[in-house]
Each structure stands twice: as structure tokens, then as C-alpha cells.
Amino acid sequence: MFKKVLIANRGEIAVRIARACRELRVRAVAVYSDVDRASLHVRLADEAYPIGLAPSGESYLVIEKILGVARYAGCDAIHPGYGFLAENPALARACVDAGVTFIGPPAAAMEQLGSKTAARQIARDVGAPTVPGTLNPIKTVDEAAEIVRGIGFPVILKAVAGGGGKGMRSVASESELASAWRDATSEAQNAFGDARLYLEKYLERPRHIEIQVLADQHGHFVYLGERECSVQRRHQKVIEEAPSPIMTAELRKAMGEAAVKLARAGNYTNAGTVEFLVDAERNFYFLEMNTRLQVEHPVTEMVTSLDLVKLQMRIAAGEPLPFGQADIELRGHAVECRIYAEDPDNNFFPSPGKIIDCGVPTGPGIRLDEGIYAGWTVPNEYDPMLGKLVAWGGDREEALARMGRALAEYHASGIKTNVSLFRRILASSDFQKGAIYTRWLDDFLSAAPVAEGRNTEEESQAEQAAAIAALLWHASQTGGASASETRTFAESRWKTEGRREQVNREPQL
């Protein structure tokens, strides 16, 4: 095993990797930009070094700076997390040159399987079904229009270098093509430094289901079941779960074997995810491969009892997989909510700022992977994801009930979060039935909100409680005599007397 690992990332995933390092007794080295000096990943690391200004192009994306720290601190491996440099073959290659192990696939496999167009060619070669569309990047919007004439609208534009919904636009008709092309191109350029796009046919109401694969350096491949990621807002995953509500043992085996075949054909090693679209008839189509750890890896960890980050490190260190396909057993159900600093009541606009107070859910079956704390300021420069709330249950119903319970215990005040969105989703009968597809959430949100006709006694009491709290809050803000009026409750002699009477009424045992 490695002695010291550099974590080339920030936020919750840097915290996640640091925790894995701790458990393996490997020293964790953090890097941070100017605005991340007080971030949690720096606080939890064994060592931490500055790498420049807040814009990621001047810090987290600069390979020379990352390798400079690795050399200076004497790191023997680099974990890229997800995002930033995780799928940039240049880092993997630079690591080889610098004699540092890259915890991920080799650069060549990343190039082959990570390029969406090249991966689709491999998928066709190994016989995995793919969605109709282009295999090569498109150069101009006119060329795109020409291709669409062949396959018909709706289509989806995607960044060749893309991921995470960035540089991606669905196009329903000819009139939307030019503006969608413009937006996707500029977003792709900003997010990945690569503006190239390709396009494919947009399937009606497909599900997004992905297979987690692991491959060691000794030719062993396994799949760890699937993750259902159909709840998305503008192509960004919002809720993920494992297993998928529609999965059968036969389909899991077929998709898992297709995923392994693809990974094997690309000479893949380490953890990777093969994404598929699945239609209403349970036909699956290869979408793309993510050559890295996924944001949503915890749901797989919860149902397999495996630690994917530690396995990534073991694989990179040359250890063989400690289990085979027959040993993989799925147990129970896990669901994950991605908590973002954004305002669900106002167009989901991002909401950076200082966190005043945090409510951290605990209790049975709950896991919270986050990179924040009360008093920390969420910077404006990075992705608004604060963390992931994960619930495990013996079955889907229990997992969802636990998630609902944990969401009520969660808050991050001072900024806006999308927690109320999850409450709405969990309360919807479509989601409860598992009747979801990739555009389900967009449809759900654009449908007129159902008027809340609840007018029970409990409801009106909740309103009264809110009114009382608002008054107390106002008093605490304005200070003075009004605040002292509220301070006497705890010491109230009447209450003390009442309690004494109650105690005396208790039966004598």
C-alpha cells in the first residue's frame, strides 16, 4: 500500500478520500486554492499545500502544480476524485512520467473509453447496443442540422469531453438548434476546455441505469450491480438509488456482462461506471463510460458492503481483487440525495455564502458525506454540491422512509439548499412507485404545484408555532426589553410547580 496519497480535489469527495486514507493508515495530502484554506478537506488532511487562485484553471486544474506538490511532499500516489482532472488522460500520463501512481485507469484506457465517441465505437465492436447518433465530433451547427435530418428530432447535444450534465442540451425542434448549440459549446469550453460536441437521438422516457465495474491489474473484472439515476434536473443527477426498482436478475446479469465486456475491450483497470439508457421494454443502450469514481458511489457501497475508494487504492497498488463475481451479494436498498447550495423556489439559482448553522442527521441507516461545516463560507467559484445524504433500508420502502426522516433533521442555514425539493419528490406517488424516467423531474417541476389543501389541526398548530418562533426571532434581532420578556420560561415557577405535581402523580413502584 502507498505511504502518502495526494488528493487532487476539494469538497466532499476530497473528504471522502482522506477518510479512506486514514482507514488504510496512508497519509493524506490536500491541496487548496486561495478560497479553500479553511475548507474541511484541508482540516482533515495530514498535510496541505496551496496551489493558487480560486478559479480552478489556476489551481485544481493545473497538472504541474499538482505534481509539484506531489514531488515536494513525497507522495507515491495521486487520487483525482471526480471532476477537475479525474478524466484528463494528461494527468494520468504525467503521473507515469513523474513516477507517481495515478489511482485510476491508465491514460490509454481513459482516452478510449472516456471519449464518448470512441467508447461508442468499442461498444458497437463488442456487440453492446447503442443509441442512434454520431460517432465523431461534429464541427458546425450546419453539420449537426444535416445529421438530425437523418435521425429526426428530438436529439441531444453532448460535449465530447463532458460529464455531469455540463455542455449538454436537448433539442426538440430545428428552431432550438442554434441557441442550444451555442450554449452547449460555450459551457463545454468553460467546463472542460474542449468545446467539441456530438449528438444522438433522444429516447422517449428512458431510464438512466448504470453499472459499477472494478478491474484489477491482473485481468479480473467484476460488476457490482446497478444504480438507478433517472431522477435528474437538466441532465444533472439529483437522486440515485440501488438497486433499480425495475431490475431483474436476468437484466442485471446482461447489463453487468455487457459493461465488463466493454471495460475489458478497453483494457480498463480500477473503478469505472458504464452508463446505459433503458427503455420501457427493458432494452438497454450503452450511453457512455465514466472512467473514475462516481459522485453516487455510496449507494453501491451501502448495498454491497464494500468500500470503493479503498478498493481503488488497493487496485492501484497492484493488489488483486479480494473477491470474484460469485461473491458479490446485494443486500437491502440505498438511496442518495445530492444536496446543493441552490434555491429550489427561485429557478434553482446557486446560493453561495456563509453557513450559519448545520443540522446533521444521524441514526439507523444514515450516512452523510459532505465537505461543509457551520461557519464555513461556500465559495462562488465551484460546483454548488455541498454533500450527499444517503439512507439504507432493508427494502426500498424503509430506505425512502429513512431518507424522509433524515431530510427533516438536515439543514444548512445561512444559505439556500435544495432539501425541500427532495421532500416534494419523496412525497410524489410516481417516485414512490418508482415510475421515473430521465425527464421525469423536469416534467414534475413544470407541472403546476398541487395546492396544499391540508387544514388539519396539526397544520394550524404548525402555523401557530411558526408565528411564535417568528416573534421570538424578531425579538432576538431587535433586542431590548422584548427579548427579556421571552427569557423567563425556563425559570418559570409555575412550570416548576406543574412538574412537581406531575412527578407526585407518578405511580409509586
Binding site: 404548525a462 420578556e485 412550570k495
Partner: protein, 165 residues
């Protein structure tokens, strides 16, 4: 202490008085025995006839919310100095409306200029924040009175970016 509180669109008169060292709340003239304790900054534990409510009060600039039992109430409070209400500040006299930047960020595109007529919901400009491009839309149909920002400029949350009349 007596305040007018507008909660979930309804105006209520809330009063806190003491009698024999008991806290007596009156809401719209109705007496209520409630036990309220501030458990942490902005969070209150409130017992009404034994029913337990944990209420979190959060303020964002002029906006005020009280969150409890899975409900998210918008709140406005009137004291001597007038209403402290949610989503205030954007309405101007005679239908002129200031469009505010909803978050700090950088103006990456300005899609309109003064004199343009716009429809409600039409994109006015694009603000980049937290690696996302966010389109700011017209709150109403009308004419662009002024564009107060230029491309490349950084803005703060609540800053006036466009005026529509």
C-alpha cells in the same frame, strides 16, 4: 409584546404577555398556552398542548422564512418601523420593475439593450456562478428601461441589473 405577522399569506396578530409568571400567547385574540425555548441561534423548540414543533427561522436579506414539520412558511413581520417581508424591494411605483441579480457571479452575456421590448419570461442576461450559467428572465412584459451591467462585470446578490418598465 405585540406584532402583526403575515404567515403563509395570512395576517395574524401575535401577542406575548405574562400573567403570574406564565407565558400567555394570543394569536388573533385566541389564547394559547405554548412553551417556547430557543435551542440554538434561529431554532426554537415549541410545545403547544404537548405537541412538539421545532421551528427554524431563516432570513435572507429581506426574505424571512419559518420552517417546521416539513412546511416552509414565508413570513413578514410588522413592527413600529413597518413591514419586514419576504421578496420585497423589487416592486417600484408605476409598474417599473428592478431585476435583481439573485446570486453573486459574473455577467457572461447581456441579451437585451435599453429600448428593447421584452415578454415576461424572456432571457435578459446570463450570470455565471458556481460553474453554472443562469439565465435571468424578465419578470413582466414591457420595455427595457436600463441595463445597469456589462458583460464581464461581477455582480453581488441583490444588485440591480436591469430595469423593465
Amino acid at each position: 409584546m405585540k406584532l402583526q405577522i403575515e404567515i403563509a399569506g395570512k395576517k395574524r396578530q401575535v401577542e406575548l404577555a405574562r400573567a403570574n409568571e406564565r407565558a400567555i400567547w394570543t394569536i388573533d385574540g385566541q389564547r394559547l398556552e405554548a412553551d417556547a425555548v430557543a435551542v440554538s441561534s434561529g431554532t426554537y423548540s415549541i410545545l403547544i398542548n404537548g405537541k412538539s414543533f421545532e421551528v427554524r427561522v431563516e432570513s435572507f436579506g429581506a426574505e424571512l422564512r419559518a420552517i417546521t414539520a416539513g412546511r416552509d412558511f414565508s413570513v413578514a413581520i410588522q413592527d413600529e418601523r413597518g413591514w419586514r417581508r419576504n421578496r420585497g424591494g423589487s416592486l417600484e411605483a408605476e409598474g417599473r420593475q428592478q431585476v435583481l441579480a439573485p446570486m453573486p457571479g459574473k455577467i457572461v452575456r447581456v441579451l437585451v439593450s435599453a429600448g428593447d421590448s421584452v415578454r415576461a419570461g424572456q432571457g435578459l442576461l446570463v450570470v455565471e456562478a458556481m460553474k453554472m450559467q443562469n439565465e435571468i428572465r424578465a419578470p413582466k412584459s414591457g420595455t427595457i428601461d436600463r441595463v445597469r451591467v456589462v458583460e464581464g462585470q461581477t455582480v453581488n446578490a441583490g444588485q440591480v441589473v436591469v430595469i423593465v418598465s
